[in-house]
């Protein structure tokens, strides 16, 4: 098996493996960043402030309605400029350059976050209000209610939706190959170019993605089963 990887595939096996690791790293980081964005924007959407609600609405509508590739180009070509402008406000005038990894994670995280927002908002709303009243009647404080009542149940309700977001995020990472980050797609593209075996290498890339999505589907199914172990089945 290992022999096939090193000698087969015209010697591109190891690169493809490290590309897979890179894809997983980017997908995981962007998914977590997206969860943070999603939690923040979800909270903003559920808040009483009109401004916060409007901003969150703008974020989700714009990011979900504009092609992912365009968002990636925005951060790829404009990301450093944005950071430098912010740094300029704080009096730093030097040159800041972002590496492809952080640009990719920021872009895919931004996209992933817009989808997570809706999932998280829906999940929070499906926690029955009576439970929060009951917790309050027991004398729990705001934070304790959040930690003991709201978050655990929200997580359970959000799991199926977050599973879908994860699949989207994983597939969106293929797009950051345009920033020359050496993930699966980029390695396949380079290998295809240098060996003139496009069909072979893109098929291998497809199989790698298929393996990743299949494994994560099973993982999310397990997680869902674990999260709903205390719930009676109808």
């Amino acid at each position: 098996m290992l022999d096939l990887l090193t000698t087969g595939l015209h010697g591109w096996g190891p690169q493809l493996l490290s590309g897979t690791a890179m894809t997983i790293a980017v997908a995981l980081s962007s998914f977590l960043l997206g969860l943070a964005f999603g939690a923040a924007a979800g909270a903003a959407k559920l808040s009483d402030s009109l401004v916060l609600r409007g901003l969150a609405e703008l974020y989700t509508t714009a990011v979900r309605g504009v092609p992912e590739l365009l968002v990636i180009y925005l951060l790829f070509f404009g990301g450093s400029g944005m950071i430098m402008a912010v740094a300029g406000i704080f009096g730093y005038g030097g040159l800041i350059e972002l590496n492809a990894f952080s640009i990719g994670v920021a872009a895919v995280g931004l996209i992933s976050g817009a989808y997570s927002t809706e999932v998280i908002r829906g999940a929070v709303k499906s926690v029955p209000y009576g439970q929060i009243e009951a917790a309050r009647a027991c004398g729990m404080g705001r934070w304790r209610i959040l930690r003991r009542v709201l978050v655990p149940q929200t997580l359970r309700f959000a799991l199926p939706g977050l599973g879908n977001v994860w699949q989207l995020t994983l597939k969106d990472t293929a797009l950051i190959s345009v920033t020359a980050l050496a993930e699966i797609m980029r390695v396949a593209h380079t290998a295809a170019g240098s060996t003139r075996q496009s069909f072979l290498f893109y098929s291998v890339a497809a199989l790698l993605y298929l393996a990743l999505t299949t494994v994560s589907t099973t993982a999310f199914q397990q997680a869902e089963r674990y999260a709903s172990r205390g719930v009676r089945r109808a």
Binding site: T61, A62, R64, G65, V66, P67, E68, L69, L70, Y73, L74, F77, G78, G81, K171, D172, T173, A174, L175, S177, V178, M185, A188, H189, A192, R196, Q197, S198, F199, Y202, S203, A205, A206, Y209, L210, T213, T214
Partner: protein, 229 residues
């Protein structure tokens, strides 16, 4: 923010709009046919047909669209069998490769939406139609399909938006649709934000119109849900 530059970029981006719309329309049209055939085969109960269609949806839903586009555009062209076949005049053009990839992709997703919708048609309706003496084909055409299409419309609306966004990937295989033109203009002018905003608004407008159209279709198909005047 450079307003004149934004204003000047508009005509060039607008000129790319027809290509984007064409890609989306063709992909959706071919995708719908493909989805219809796939869903019917999947529900046919024939073991070979079920296995084949399951494999099709599994592969196209489990891999990124970019891989599918590259596999069709770069990959197929190096197989001699295809180069020598009658399909070559079609498959040698990036336009048709993009449409093929987009159609295969949306066909896989839409077939699952359609299959789910067909499965939600209440058994009682089918039984009633059968009791009226309808043949299988007529039953499907008059009862099952109209109800399923009504049921699937909201989910299909999401799929249409996904296709509008997915058409941007055609720019990776040399198609100069909105994203392709935007990318080129960003590289020429370095006005990243201005061009991103104009191109983004164009996409948002397309999606807005698409959502309205789907909503209208939904309204047209559900007269019984409307309050009587």
């Amino acid at each position: 923010m450079n307003w004149t530059l934004m204003w000047d970029s508009l005509p060039r981006l607008l000129a790319a709009l027809p290509l984007t719309l064409q890609l989306v329309a063709m992909a959706l049209a071919f995708g719908a046919v493909l989805a219809f055939a796939t869903a019917l085969l999947r529900l046919s109960g024939n073991r070979v047909a079920v296995a084949l269609t399951s494999a099709y949806t599994f592969i196209f839903r489990g891999t990124p669209l970019l891989v599918q586009i590259f596999l069709i555009y770069y990959g197929l062209s190096q197989i001699d069998l295809i180069r020598d076949s009658v399909l070559w005049p079609v498959l040698s053009q990036p336009m048709w490769c993009a449409i093929l990839a987009l159609a295969l992709n949306t066909g896989a997703y839409t077939s699952e939406i359609l299959r789910g919708a067909i499965e939600t048609v209440p058994q009682g309706q089918v039984e009633a139609a059968r009791a009226c003496g309808m043949s299988r084909v007529r039953l499907f055409r008059r009862i099952v399909l109209p109800m399923a299409i009504r049921q699937m419309l909201p989910a299909y609306g999401n799929e249409v938006i996904l296709m509008v966004k997915a058409s941007s990937l055609a720019s990776t295989i040399t198609m100069m649709e909105i994203t392709g033109v935007a990318r080129r203009m960003i590289a020429q002018t370095f006005a990243v934000f201005e061009i991103f905003i104009v191109a983004g608004i164009l996409y948002l407008l397309i999606n807005f119109v698409a959502t309205r159209l789907i909503k209208h279709a939904e309204w047209r198909m559900t007269p019984y849900l409307r309050a009587r005047a």
